[in-house]
């Protein structure tokens, strides 16, 4: 199941830290919503919750970075970018191979209209 398109409802049942964990695992761009209301699109590649001030790290949409953002400056993360791990290209490859196999099998099973021709 892909999280593509998900806008988390951060609150009683879902913490911001949990949303960041999902975002860290997500292989697509996200929209990072800051507490000051500004937004930035980027790829979250790391988070660190061990220290006194948890933070995440990201590259922005143009590839600049890495940038660091403290959890205290973060309001939400929206899963707005395409999920690149959704496996669509592989599915397409499999479907094509299956189609080719079926076509070859069908071609082999077509009866020869004139089995006695020399």
């Amino acid at each position: 199941m892909s999280l593509e398109g998900w806008v988390p409802d951060v609150g009683q049942y879902l913490t911001l830290a949990e949303v960041v964990e999902f975002a860290f695992d997500y292989r697509g761009n996200t929209t990072i919503v800051k507490t000051d209301g500004t937004e930035v699109v980027g790829y979250i590649f790391n988070r660190n919750t061990y220290g006194p001030e948890p933070f995440l790290e990201y590259f922005d949409e143009s590839g600049d970075g890495p940038f660091t953002l403290r959890y205290s400056e973060l309001a939400n993360v929206k899963f707005t970018g395409k999920d690149t791990a959704a496996g669509n290209s592989w599915k397409a490859w499999l479907e094509r191979k299956e189609r080719e196999k079926a076509e070859r099998a069908a071609a082999r099973s077509v009866p020869d209209p004139d089995p006695h021709r020399g």
Partner: protein
């Protein structure tokens, strides 16, 4: 075994130095990923699924070399992505060879023939060509027809020009032991120096989640594949690791043995799992909860993993940890009996 004596000597003296220094954890092979771009999208690969701006990025040669110095491992493997798409691959390799690092440039070989002029043959440089079996199996694994034939042409050319060439094969459920034995013959016919084989790892981001080998199936497959190995087959890896794959050894994982560096930093805890990044190698070694990884830890992600990046370092360490380990390695190397 086909590892050249000079490389064996370098590894042996390095491991001995670590042991004399009392280091419990030390790196053996640095996995250096200068980019994530690839010209293939293989079914079993979980390394290249990133947004476009990440795929366009390259680590600078300077950053790569700083990581090599920081890590200190005697061998550097350059996977990716496809390293021959890295614009400074020639400069990077030359700098590593100058530092007397044994370099394994892991490539699918699609670009190898046209880029060979960028390199000079050296005992420190080996092209490790991704080959997952004979034509049918390989093209299916890489999801593109014709790649096997391209790789074979490139291997022939590289061997003819005096380069060290090895192959690197990842095996999945459904692999045929008989076909693999034919594949070993074929690779030896091509004149490669040696072959590396390993079961695949079930990357959570890989498109194909159905065909990864469980532990018992791994033992069965490798036992059948490697039973009565032909004298002409040469493997560019520890014979004890091969025995481990056959179920003749019970090793524990050494996740710090092949530390990974890429544009995100030092990857925690290993080449296969991505649980976070550190800014320095020392931080990786000091702050990773290593006890949470490996089969004994009970970590589900490690349960069926028998991949060489975790266990080859264990096999090498075992060789130099006791007379028994050393004698076993020498015995298998000399007799060829696995």
């Amino acid at each position: 075994m086909s590892v050249p004596l000079s490389q064996m000597w370098t590894v042996a003296t390095y491991v001995t130095r670590q042991k004399l220094a009392g280091r419990k954890r030390y790196p053996l092979v640095l996995m250096l990923e200068p980019l994530f771009r690839c010209n293939l999208a293989c079914a079993g690969c979980g390394k290249i699924q990133y947004p476009a701006q990440i795929l366009r990025k390259n680590l600078s040669v300077e950053k790569c070399l700083a990581a090599v110095e920081e890590c200190g491992a005697p061998m550097v493997s350059i996977p990716g992505g496809e390293p021959l798409m890295y614009p400074d691959i020639d400069r990077l390799v030359a700098a590593l060879v100058k530092r007397k690092k044994y370099v394994y440039l892991c490539t699918n070989a699609i670009l190898l023939k046209e880029k060979l002029d960028l390199f000079t043959p050296s005992k420190y440089l080996s092209f490790s060509v991704h080959m997952d079996g004979l034509r049918e199996e390989h093209d299916e694994a890489v999801c593109r027809d014709g790649v096997y034939d391209q790789a074979v042409l490139a291997i022939r050319e590289a061997v003819a020009r005096g380069f060290r060439v090895t192959t690197n094969s990842t095996l999945f459920d459904g692999a045929s032991p008989l076909r693999m034995r034919e594949f070993f013959d074929e690779m030896m016919n091509l004149g490669v120096e040696g072959m590396m084989i390993s079961p695949g790892y079930s990357y959570s981001k890989a498109p194909d989640q159905e065909h990864f080998l469980m532990q018992s199936r791994t033992h069965d497959l490798f036992s059948r594949m490697l039973s009565k190995p032909k004298k002409r087959w040469r493997f560019n890896q520890s014979p004890l690791f091969l025995r481990f794959l056959m179920g003749k050894h019970d090793f524990e994982c050494t996740p710090w043995g092949n530390p990974t560096y890429n544009m995100f930093g030092w990857q925690r805890p290993c080449y296969l799992l991505q649980e976070g990044y550190t800014r320095t190698f020392q931080e990786l070694m000091d702050t990773t909860p290593w006890e949470n990884y490996g089969k004994k830890s009970g970590n589900e992600k490690c349960r069926d993993c028998m991949v060489h990046c975790g266990y080859e370092a264990t096999a090498v360490d075992y060789t130099f940890s006791s007379l028994k380990g050393f004698a076993e390695t020498v015995g298998v190397t000399l007799t060829g009996k696995l």
